[in-house]
């Protein structure tokens, strides 16, 4: 395996691309008990249209998440119970652009890794089990319907016209009823091939043993994968300016989003991301003038926060929290961005923000989960995550100001508010 030492971070990363196309990364952490493995496919809720065997397929909304639930079944075996018997904790999640399966353990690492690779690479779907899953996901959709986190889903619907980020990750009660074993098989065949996946391990493990286990379970053969269709035509203006929803909540909660150009992949993508984050920090971060002004005037409280987010095919700058006057917060942000873009950001301020952001990222490396997931996510974007300190050094105040000038415009902005239901 390829071994790289990053002296500034005191980290050593092993990586390689196997013959079957799987990318394997191992970050040894000697002296720690916990071992964590992520097996991630570059397939999320937005990838419902794709080509497989030359045929165009359009899967129902929510299929990636449904598939994630169904992967935990093997013929005549109970995957969760097998992990439990090994003392490992297994789970999974589906986001807009990836599906991740992971386990953590303190013993029996190799058998657990073998089981992870085995169950995620083995499709097994029956009519009966698909039907049973609908009941469980119905409850998950119901739980989601009552959660103020709906504010983000509503924002996506307000911002985007065509990009499927506007569709909830879980799909709808109707769309999940269109899912069949055949569709699940097609999605699995299209996107659960090694070449479309990443295996990443963090912990006190032997990198070569990880690689050997992956080879034993997955073989060397390179399989044909599906190819994603991205027929998304998205203008930089928003679909709707404001969207409101009443709910059983105590305080109004809002999310504000500004549409940004998609960042693509490679070093340029992470540079854009860091510029976006620093712009958010300069504009409304806790050390900004605007934050103090909004906080002291009671327009925001300590729940306020935001940052730059990227998803396959789109990017956005968001912020939100509890507030009785979200429109005023939005207007203040837009006005302040104009000011900043014209006055500029002093170099000393940028240096301070960089130092703070860098310190937080370095501290975050203590978290196995965050580090393991970031290694996967950045690898999918074709970037070697541990090179982030160098990218921070290169970013200039002019780049941050140019970003603010371009992006923080009212026409690029949408506001989503969850309001307390009126008492009857």
């Amino acid at each position: 395996m390829n071994k790289v030492f990053y002296p500034g971070l005191n980290e050593t990363l092993y990586s390689c691309k196997m013959e079957n196309g799987l990318t394997v990364q191992v970050l040894p952490r000697p002296g720690f008990s916990r071992k964590l493995a992520y097996f991630v496919t570059d397939f999320g809720s937005i990838h419902t249209e794709f080509l497989l065997d030359g045929k165009k397929i359009k899967a129902p909304a929510g299929v990636a998440h449904f598939l994630e639930h169904k992967m935990f079944e093997l013929p005549g075996r109970d995957v969760s119970a097998e992990f439990a018997a090994l003392g490992a904790n297994v789970n999974a999640f589906t986001s807009y652009d990836v599906t991740a399966y992971y386990f953590s353990c303190t013993e029996n690492f190799l058998p657990s890794l073998r089981l992870l690779l085995e169950f995620v690479s083995t499709p097994y779907f029956t009519e009966e089990s698909v039907k049973r899953e609908i009941g469980i996901i119905d409850q998950e959709i119901g739980m989601n319907a009552d959660s103020p986190e709906r504010v983000f889903e509503n924002l996506m619907q307000a911002m985007y016209c065509s990009h499927p980020i506007r569709v909830p990750i879980l799909g709808s009660r109707e769309s999940i009823r269109e899912i069949t074993p055949e569709i699940l098989n097609q999605c699995h065949r299209a996107f659960y091939t090694p070449a479309n996946m990443i295996l990443c391990v963090v912990g006190d493990v032997d990198p070569q043993q990880v690689l050997d286990t992956a080879r034993q379970v997955l073989g060397d053969e390179k399989k044909e994968a599906g190819s994603k269709l991205r027929p998304w035509q998205e203008e930089m203006t928003c679909h709707r300016e404001t969207v409101r929803m009443p709910m059983e909540v105590a305080m109004p909660n809002f999310q504000l989003g500004f549409k940004c150009e998609s960042v693509g992949t490679g070093e340029d993508a992470i540079r854009q991301e860091i510029i976006g984050d620093l712009a958010a920090e300069a504009l409304f971060g806790e050390s900004s003038e605007l934050y103090l002004q909004l906080y002291e005037s009671g327009l925001i409280d300590s729940s306020f926060g935001g940052g730059f987010e990227t998803v396959d095919g789109c990017a956005l700058l968001t912020c939100g929290g509890d507030s009785n006057q979200a429109e005023k917060v939005r207007d203040a942000i837009v006005a302040r961005a104009e000011e900043l873009a014209s006055t500029g950001i002093p170099d000393a301020d940028l240096l301070r923000m960089k130092r703070s952001a860098l310190g937080r990222r370095i501290r975050d490396l203590d978290s196995f989960d965050s580090t393991c997931f970031r290694l996967c996510a950045y690898q999918l974007s074709d970037f070697d995550y541990f090179r982030f300190p160098g990218v921070y050094t290169d970013v200039t105040a002019a780049q941050v100001c140019a970003f603010l000038e371009k992006v923080i415009k009212k026409e690029r902005c949408a506001l989503s508010v969850i309001e307390p239901r009126r008492q009857s």
């Binding site: 952490r29 009552d146 934050y291 103090l292 729940s303 310190g359």
Partner: protein
């Protein structure tokens, strides 16, 4: 691994040396008896302290300073540990060795914590009234926002019903009306008493040498006049009788919470068997409740149990369809009866044991987990040190788990009935 030092009367430093991490952490906890008359003030206090000091008089000045310290963070720390409530500050900061050009972080952050604790912005004989009023609003909003997460809301309602005569029923952040009653002067007087009388627990995890930390922290608290008042011991659950209550709300998914009691607390050795019972019964993805009620009967998305060892309370919470209430209630009780009648397999015991042991092994894998476990275990009255705890979990047999299960009885329940679409 942990060294303890008595810095002043009633002031203990627990020091955990570890150079594996990129960050260190320091917590300062004032330990108070959980009491309705001061819970809200204790929750309000750290938020007010974090608003400004004489040298850093507002939020922006504070954040600019923390930015310079490589994004170090200082946050409010308010915990409920059985009969106690702790209030104070938690900070995490990058280790000095990762800083550029030999910048120091540890010493300035400790000095900053000293300023937060001992040099707050004051007016006449109270805290800055503007800070207090603004943080009262924030705290009320935090208390009210428990309604946003219906599972949390239902769980809090259940504990209020169960613990009508026990301090454990007092919400961690206190009640809204007590927050409203607090003012800058009362809070400042209360804080002066806390500084003087409370037990103070300091916890450090990181790479610095003990003598460095001792010197820094002694200096940090040197300005306090102490007159330490001993804390009472943790007590058993005070039972005012069970009740089964319900509330209708315009939501899609209903929440069923059932509260059980057992005489087994974390202060007796049977605690290990009870932990295993909880894991087999309802905690985690291989528990009976998850495997039967969710996976086999498809009745819910979320279901799980929790064991509050300080009081001997077990709660089960499930997100369900309102029409399934009786079915789910009956199944939750049936699964308990199965455990009580000895229907626990070797496989279930092994899985539960491994899950609990794995959790205990990873306690030392992050500064936050080290601080969280060790700074609360002692206060909670836990009768084991970490090694004894592991041995007790490894030694417990099915018969011990069944005996523990037999002590569990239903006490109260709360049903949040969803009457929305």
């Amino acid at each position: 691994m942990i060294q303890s030092f008595q810095l002043f009367p009633g002031v203990t430093l627990r020091y955990f040396a570890d150079n594996r991490f990129k960050q260190g952490c320091l917590s300062v906890q004032f330990v108070r008896p959980m009491a309705a008359e001061e819970a809200a003030m204790n929750a309000l206090l750290p938020a007010v302290l974090l608003r400004g000091t004489k040298q850093y008089p507002d939020l922006r000045a504070i954040t600019l300073h923390l930015d310079d310290l490589y994004g170090a963070s200082v946050s409010a720390l308010v915990r409920r540990i059985g009969d106690y409530q702790t209030t104070g500050l938690y900070c995490s900061f990058m280790e000095d060795r990762y800083a550029m050009d030999g910048d120091a972080i540890l010493a300035p952050i400790v000095d900053f914590v000293r300023q937060l604790l001992l040099e707050p912005v004051t007016e006449e004989d109270g805290f800055c009234a503007e800070f207090v009023e603004s943080e009262k609003k924030n705290l009320i909003s935090a208390i009210e926002s428990e309604l946003n997460d219906k599972r949390v809301y239902a769980g809090v309602q259940l504990l209020k019903v169960m613990c009508r005569s026990d301090a454990f029923g007092i919400p961690r952040l206190g009640e809204k009306k007590s927050v409203e009653a607090a003012d800058a002067k009362k809070l400042y007087q209360h804080y002066q008493r806390i500084l003087k009388e409370s037990r103070i627990e300091l916890f450090y995890v990181g790479a610095a040498q003990p003598e460095t930390i001792l010197a820094l922290l002694k200096n940090m608290l040197a300005g306090i006049q102490r007159c330490y008042v001993n804390l009472p011991e943790q007590t058993a659950f005070c039972d005012a009788g069970g009740e089964h209550t319900r509330e209708a709300m315009d939501i899609t998914q209903s929440k069923l919470c059932m509260g059980f009691v057992t005489p087994i607390t974390n202060r007796v050795r049977e605690f290990a068997a009870m932990q295993l019972f909880n894991a087999i019964y309802g905690a985690g993805m291989t528990s009976k409740l998850f495997m039967i009620v969710r996976e086999k009967m498809s009745l819910c998305y979320s279901i799980g149990s929790g064991y509050y060892g300080t009081k001997g309370i077990i709660t089960v919470s499930a997100g369900i369809d309102q029409n399934q209430e009786e079915t789910v209630r009956a199944e939750i009780l049936r699964q308990l009866q199965l455990c009580q009648s000895g229907d626990i397999s070797d496989g279930e015991l092994i899985a539960a044991r491994k899950a609990v042991l794995s959790g205990l092994r990873t306690v030392h894998d992050s500064p936050g987990a080290i601080e969280g476990y060790h700074s609360t275990a002692g206060l909670s009255g836990l009768c084991f040190d970490l090694e004894e705890y592991r041995r007790a979990i490894s030694a417990a047999k099915i018969a011990d788990v069944v005996e523990a299960a037999k002590t569990v009885r239903l006490h109260s329940s709360f049903f949040l009935q969803g009457v929305g679409e």
